[in-house]
């Protein structure tokens, strides 16, 4: 049973320093099961770094990260095991260029989750059908559009049934006309109760799907709130400034 009262993911006092530059300077946040939390903020505010720290790809400088109350930042934790439960989707897709899109999805299912080949392919095919790429299973990443690649990349992460899905500006590298199909997939994931922490520049989309919005400024949480409230009544000066700057684009 899913315990709805306890956070799926908690970040406590997280810091990330490069040399003596603080990219993340003490962040606390919680993501509850089935919730979508959006991270917004200017480039360099620490959104991507935060996601990479949660996936344990970046070593953190201070603080703790809990996945279902278990400290995944503790010494001796098996990072591979944690990463298998925390999906991360990159801005630039990063599909495996030597594998068909079907095998891109089955690779981790087979070699990390140890699911037999047939079964893994059945899972992958049903996902590809769901995103309308059922007939492209044998295509290679360079033969499909950016939007299709990004949807495959999202499905590659989701098929692992992660406890939390991290999306790192997944529409930033796409042509404007391809953004919609990726956002549709995320809407679809919201319906099925996927827990998502996403960094995004798509403010209207964040307002639509996110339950909670966090505005980062220089590695700190400057302001946060429920999506509707946050966008309608921003409190801080910087928040207002950022929102109007983004609205002008």
């Amino acid at each position: 049973m899913i315990d709805w009262s306890k956070p799926r993911l908690s970040v406590v006092g997280l810091k990330k320093h490069y040399e003596d530059r603080a990219v993340i300077d003490g962040i606390d946040l919680e993501v509850f099961p089935g919730q979508i939390v959006a991270l917004i903020g200017a480039s360099g505010s620490g959104k991507s770094t935060l996601l990479r720290c949660v996936n344990l790809i970046e070593e953190i400088s201070d603080g703790q990260i809990f996945l279902e109350q278990e400290d995944i930042s503790a010494p001796g934790v098996n990072h591979d095991k944690v990463r298998a439960e925390v999906g991360l989707v990159f801005q630039s897709f990063n599909l495996f260029s030597h594998l068909s899109i079907l095998n891109n999805i089955t690779l981790a299912l087979r070699h990390v989750k140890k699911i037999p080949k047939d079964e893994a392919e059945t899972i992958a095919k049903s996902w590809l059908t769901r995103i309308g790429l059922g007939d492209r299973a044998d295509s290679y990443p360079d033969k499909i559009s950016g939007g299709q690649q990004q949807r495959t990349a999202i499905v590659r992460a989701v098929a692992m049934e992660p406890k939390v899905l991290l999306l790192d500006e997944v529409t930033s590298a796409l042509d404007p006309e391809l953004v919609g199909e990726v956002l549709d997939l995320i809407r679809d994931l919201k319906k099925t109760g996927t827990t998502i922490l996403m960094a995004t520049h798509e403010l209207s989309f964040a307002r639509e799907v996110a339950d909670w919005v966090i505005f980062l400024e220089q590695g700190k949480i400057y302001e946060q709130g429920e999506a509707a409230e946050f966008f309608e009544n921003p409190k801080g000066e910087r928040t207002k400034e950022f929102l109007s700057r983004m609205a002008g684009k």
Binding site: N55, I57, D80, K81, V82, R83, A84, E85, G87, L88, F90, S92, N94, L95, F96, S97, H98, L107, A108, H111, V112, R156, A157, M160
Partner: protein
């Protein structure tokens, strides 16, 4: 589909006829210059005072026919050595390259050894490796091994030298795979070695096929060097025939056979290289 002449404008038609004229001109010039070049070289050669003698002692048809069976048998030995050495070189080279990418502290001594090995055998002339292996290993008097045939010792020496080169090729290939590919693999929970085996190596190997084939072409002729250890290969066979007839034609014959052997591989290497680079810059003319 290309447009037919009756489907295009007057402007395109005049461009087409101009291009055609230019092409005819180019072909004509190429033909003429080849002809002049050939004639000059040919008459230049037969005009030399020693041509008659050279022709007799290097290009004698009768000697070539007589010497052919022994040289051919020798070439078959070269081919066997080539086949075994090529497989060993790829295996050892790949192993060395992977060892050098291992980061865990446990592998420190292995990493240092691999680096030392590569430095040593990239620097050492092949002929010296051949002598050291060819006369050094039998010198150890390992009785249980019996007498090791010269071609086996030659294969060992070739493998030592070439695997050092090939490991560098593989290492360059591994490093050329973009780090985001490894990152994506790790983010899905694949371990370091799984990422290497399932994601990085398959892409790296594809990228290094053209330089590997060049090394194969080089190996193809260097197998002739095992003759210095006394293996009766094509070169040694030719040497025996040369002594028998007091005529150098068998060397030319052996050389010709090596070239014939190399040409298909060279063409294949060119083709593969071109295909890969075409794929990388698809859509770009010039």
């Amino acid at each position: 589909m290309a447009l037919r002449d009756d489907q295009v404008s007057q402007a395109e038609l005049s461009r087409r006829s101009w291009r055609k004229q230019r092409q005819t001109q180019s072909v004509g010039i190429a033909f003429l210059s080849t002809l002049i070049f050939g004639v000059v070289v040919w008459f230049g050669l037969i005009a030399t005072p020693g041509w008659q003698r050279v022709q007799e002692s290097f290009f004698s048809w009768d000697v070539a026919v007589e010497a052919f069976p022994r040289v051919w048998d020798g070439l078959l030995l070269n081919l066997r050595v080539l086949a075994v050495a090529a497989v060993l070189v790829v295996l050892v080279g790949l192993l060395l390259a992977v060892i050098r990418t291992l980061k865990a502290p446990v592998f420190f001594p292995l990493r240092v050894l691999a680096k030392g090995y590569v430095d040593l055998f990239r620097g050492l002339p092949l002929i010296i490796v051949l002598y050291l292996v060819g006369f050094g290993i039998p010198g150890l008097r390992l009785e249980f091994l019996g007498r090791i045939p010269a071609e086996v010792l030659g294969t060992i020496a070739l493998t030592l030298t070439y695997s050092a080169y090939v490991s560098e090729v593989f290492r360059a290939g591994i490093e050329s795979v973009h780090s985001s590919q490894r990152l994506a693999a790790r983010s899905l929970g694949l371990s370091n070695s799984q990422s290497m085996r399932l994601v990085v190596l398959p892409q790296a190997i594809r990228k290094v096929v053209p330089p590997l084939m060049n090394d194969f072409v080089a190996l193809q002729k260097d197998v002739g060097l095992i003759s210095v250890l006394g293996a009766i290969d094509a070169v040694r066979g030719a040497q025996i025939e040369v002594a028998k007839f007091a005529n150098f034609t068998p060397y030319v014959l052996a050389g010709l056979l090596f070239v014939l052997l190399a040409i298909p591989t060279i063409r294949l290497a060119d083709y593969v290289t071109k295909r890969l680079s075409d794929k990388e810059q698809a859509g770009v003319t010039l």
